[in-house]
Amino acid sequence: MTAHKVDDIACAHVISSVWDYLDDEIDADRKHQIRRHLEACDHCRDQYTFEGAFLRSVSRILNDETDYAALRHRVETALIKHGFSRAR
């Protein structure tokens, strides 16, 4: 590791917070500290890039373009049997 501490925050702390950072689950001060560290530390930034690409990949792949018309029809048919009105 070339940057052990940047802005009073250690690499280990950055890596341990990288998921919280990517998920926007940390407070503003901590977020600012981590952002500054990532700007200065190549190693942590590389790992941050790796983890971010992973999350985008999972989100993109699983948010598919499946056509849900048939399933919606099936669900609405079942609902109608339980008193739901047909769509007007």
């Binding site: 998920d23 790796f50 992973f54 699983l62 948010n63 609405e76 739901f84 009105s85």
Partner: protein, 202 residues
């Protein structure tokens, strides 16, 4: 008698607008819970039937998607006739080291850009379906459905800390499966030796 006859504040039109629009999201969640397309459709249908029958208990203005996920999960667990199992909280130090180690292993194998590849879809689905359900469901809620840790905590009925530990563990397991897959199909480039000191987190 339909709901609209008895409960003026929550009509069928509201159900159609507020609940049915989340059908794709519920279906995806159901598919990942059941790991079977046919079972997933059954679970999705049952979820909406229960939601419809309970529609008067839904608080207008609250998060309908989260409410549906909670119903879906309860139906699933009841169908499976199993109780939510307690999953041990990971050792934070071990998890940190594991996360760092996985990245370094991937980088050394020339796989630092692995997740930028567009052909990982089937491998991601397989990896996700291979996770224990406790891990699988938290990934779909947070990583696919964009729930906050707090929202996932409500949907799963577990503390936020448990959501966090399960999520981090799940991601690491999924990443490991993808790295293994990349190695299996020969994506690995020649080993680039690093100074071992660089691999120690400080």
């Amino acid at each position: 008698m339909t709901l609209v006859d008895t409960h003026h504040h929550l009509s069928e039109a509201d159900f159609r607008a507020e609940a049915l629009r989340w059908l794709p999201n519920v279906s995806r969640y159901a598919r990942l819970l059941t790991r079977d397309p046919s079972d997933a459709d059954d679970l999705t249908q049952e979820t909406f039937l229960r939601a419809y029958n309970s529609w008067t208990t839904f608080r207008p203005g609250s998060d309908c998607r989260k409410w549906l996920f909670t119903i879906c999960r309860h139906v699933f667990l009841r169908r499976e006739q199993r109780e939510a199992r307690a999953v041990s909280v990971e050792d934070p130090d071990a998890e940190l080291q594991g996360t760092a180690q996985l990245y370094w292993d991937a980088a050394e194998s020339g796989l630092a850009n692995l997740f930028d590849r567009i052909d990982l879809g089937p491998a991601i689905e397989r990896g996700l379906l291979g996770l224990p359900s406790e891990y699988r469901e938290v990934v779909i809620l947070v990583d696919v459905e964009d729930c906050t840790y707090a929202d996932a905590s409500v949907a799963l009925g577990v503390p936020v800390g448990t959501v966090r530990s399960r999520l981090f563990r799940a991601r690491r397991l999924l990443q490991q499966a993808l790295v293994d897959h990349a190695r299996d199909i020969g994506l690995v480039t020649p080993y680039a030796k690093r100074d071992s000191d660089e691999r120690i987190l400080r």
